[in-house]
């Protein structure tokens, strides 16, 4: 480690992006083989925040695993817990009261907006604009306040229970949510003018980071990444669960396959989530939030159960192999960003580092969710 650096013109060098790097939003490491500013080859190294949730799922009883699901994705925790409760309800055939279903959808969509808002801010920060992050966080704060008032927690909600919910919502919450919706709509317009229309922003994303539909299929990418590649795929529509089939909403699909398309998908999704929330508030039925008869100890019958939900990041799946006891025999978490991230190595080849990092931002990575 002494003496001057010699770089020949045909020589590549290895750039170690991460595990501590501002662009990776967590402990992700990408070993990049660089030719100047261009990436020749990239290899993603995972596992820096691996906590073996799957083994914990096998060691703990089903209700005890509930808090773990929130720790997978700290931004969109609600959706992950939703998958777990749905899987157990499917396996143990637990009926869910209608009111609970509606509140679940309401909460998941609120959480989806808050997750997308944070992603939006972090993404623009990846591109060097710091201010939108603060605006997004401010808007997100209103959603978090709403959710805290109901669930008692701001990030790791642990709000859903097998068969229902932990707490009921009250009129204050409903009124406050109704008040937040126009506010968010106004903010979305502001973001549109401040960021989406901005020439620098567009120049950085248009045509950059192509991820084709075929590539999505080969790598199993889902969520906004797939929808930005022109694939009309959303688990909420394709494989309706909970009460999603009763809502009227659209799935935004963009065919440009570039980073801007993925950005646009998420921005439009927030608008659609607001629509779902409005409908859920209107339709919210009265009734109990927990089923009348619920097994005291949850022991799903022997078998293999799979449940997919659409979280903010894509299709999240839980596979539960039950052997009839109170612990799962096998507890598999299929995390969407894991598949979305796996295509990064191939997609970023030949790109410039700043474009590659912009593309990485557009994948919406939450590292604890990749590593599980």
């Amino acid at each position: 480690m002494s003496g001057p650096i010699h770089i020949r013109s045909d020589e590549t060098f290895t750039l170690n992006v991460g595990p501590q790097h501002p662009a990776t939003h967590g402990v992700l490491r990408v070993k990049m083989e660089m030719d100047g500013e261009y990436i020749v080859k990239a290899e993603t190294v995972l596992g820096y925040i691996h906590r073996m949730h799957e083994l914990m799922g096998e060691n703990r009883t089903y209700p005890q695993v509930l808090p773990n699901l929130s720790r997978l994705d700290y931004l969109g925790a609600m959706g992950y817990t939703h998958a777990h409760v749905l899987a157990i309800e499917r396996a143990a055939s637990i009926e869910v009261p209608e009111r609970a279903e509606y509140i679940r959808v309401l909460m998941v969509e609120l959480n989806r907006i808050s997750s997308h808002l944070f992603w939006f801010g972090a993404f623009v920060m990846d591109l060097g604009g710091f201010t939108p992050l603060m605006y997004a966080i401010e808007d997100r704060e209103h959603i978090l306040d709403l959710m805290e008032a109901v669930t008692g927690s701001r990030l790791t909600y642990c709000y859903f229970r097998f068969g229902g919910l932990y707490n009921d919502v009250d009129d204050d919450f409903i009124n406050a949510t109704r008040a937040v919706i126009p506010r968010l709509r106004k903010s979305l317009k502001k973001y549109d003018a401040l960021v989406t229309g901005n020439i620098i922003f567009r120049k950085r994303l248009e045509g950059i980071g192509p991820i084709s539909a075929e590539m999505c299929r080969k790598y199993g990418a889902t969520g906004p990444v797939a929808r930005g590649a022109g694939l009309d795929f959303d688990v909420r529509k394709n494989e309706p669960y909970s009460v999603y089939s009763e809502f009227d909403f659209d799935i935004p699909v963009y065919h440009e396959c570039d980073s801007l398309a993925r950005y646009n998908v998420r921005m439009d999704e927030m608008e659609q989530s607001l629509r779902i929330i409005e409908q859920a508030l209107d339709k919210l039925p009265e009734g109990p939030i927990m089923p009348k008869k619920k097994p005291k100890l949850i022991k799903p019958p022997k078998g293999d159960y799979y449940q997919a939900v659409e979280t903010a990041r894509g299709s999240f799946g839980i596979r539960i192999v039950s052997d009839g006891t109170k612990n799962a025999y096998r507890f598999k978490l299929r995390s969407p960003t894991y598949s979305n991230m796996s295509l990064f190595d191939e997609a970023c080849e030949g790109m410039m580092i700043m474009d590659a990092l912009a593309m990485m931002g557009s994948l919406d990575l939450v590292i604890p969710e990749i590593d599980r």
Partner: protein, 333 residues
């Protein structure tokens, strides 16, 4: 005014003091401004945060200076000085008012640009000397950026020099005295005879963009691009090495704002010809600095090729056209 040793020392000391004070309190202004834009107060503890800069300064000065293993020690040490010193030297020739000027030189504009090109040099040495891949990449970026933005900047200055017929900053500013209609930014310039140059606002815009780029300010802060290159050329710098880079950056901002004021906005002249003096000059440069801050906290960063495209495909052709037009108009009038 003769430049005696004594005068020179006094001038340099005042310049250093001015640059350091400016750097310290511009950081505060920047943080407060950014805070207000982002709906938060910014540093506001103890006298509206006025004690924050001294605290930062003391912290930076008392920290240990770390030299990374394998770094080129000499280059590593000399780079921050090289970033700071030329910026301070440039203050010598800047006229703050009709009387407050350390040394009015006939080639003032040239001198400032000569010193400004040291900035790129400092970044190159810092990035290269710290033996850090991010640093080297940032250094290469910053140099290509500095070179490509000096060209349109100088062409724009040549336009001004052609119109005013002098390279002395003091004279350029004096020629614009009287009122805002005399300023070079406006198409009609009347101080030395009638002259219509319709593209002057565009010149101003080009010069403004170039000075943003030359001072490595966002959206052109590719040299430090914190989301890609960690901290770019000063990744490995801590303590006063970093402090000097910081001061150099803000001193450069002050110089950039001063140049814009002198070349385009009438220097120390009042927009309505009332009470010309240093206060108008300071008002103008701080308004410009505020707009720098405002721009920084509004836009995302450009890419390196977007930056070069902007320079070579847009700014240089337009400024060349502007130069030709000015030359032609000078022949006509």
């Amino acid at each position: 005014m003769d430049l005696t040793i004594f005068n020179a020392v006094i001038a340099v000391v005042i310049a250093i003091a001015f640059a350091a004070a400016n750097a310290a309190y511009l950081v505060l202004a920047e943080r407060r401004g950014a805070g207000r834009i982002q709906r938060r107060p910014g540093p506001n503890v103890n006298l509206f945060g006025l004690l924050q800069p001294p605290a930062d300064g003391i912290k930076l000065m008392t920290k240990q200076l770390m030299i990374p293993g394998g770094a080129d020690k000499a280059l590593f040490m000399v780079a921050p000085v090289l970033a700071m010193a030329p910026a301070i030297m440039s203050f010598v020739t800047i006229p703050f008012s009709n009387t407050i000027v350390a040394h009015s030189m006939n080639v003032g504009v040239l001198m400032i640009f000569a010193f400004a090109s040291f900035g790129g040099m400092a970044i190159l040495l810092a990035g290269w000397g710290s033996r850090n891949k991010y640093g080297v990449m940032a250094a290469v970026r910053a140099v290509s950026q500095n070179i490509s933005y000096e060209v349109p900047m100088l062409i724009t200055v040549i336009t001004i020099v052609m119109m005013t017929g002098t390279m002395n900053l003091h004279e350029i500013a004096s020629l614009q005295s009287g009122g805002f209609w005399n300023w070079n930014i406006f198409p009609v310039s009347m101080s030395d005879g009638f002259m219509l140059q319709p593209l002057m606002p565009i010149s101003f815009l080009i010069f403004f963009i170039c000075s943003l780029a030359e001072t490595n300010r966002a959206p052109f802060d590719l040299g430090e691009a914190e989301s890609e290159l960690v901290a770019g050329f000063h990744t490995e710098y801590g303590s006063m090495g970093f402090g000097l880079f910081f001061m150099g950056e803000y001193a450069n901002i002050v110089i950039g704002a001063s140049l814009i004021t002198i070349l385009f906005l009438g220097g120390w002249g009042c927009p309505f010809g009332l009470y010309p003096g240093v206060w108008w000059f300071l008002l103008k440069i701080y308004l410009l600095i505020f707009s720098f801050i405002w721009i920084r906290w509004t836009f995302p960063r450009t890419t390196i090729y977007g930056l070069l495209n902007l320079s070579w495909k847009i700014l240089i052709p337009i400024s060349l056209f502007n130069l030709l037009l000015t030359a032609g108009l000078l022949k006509v009038f």
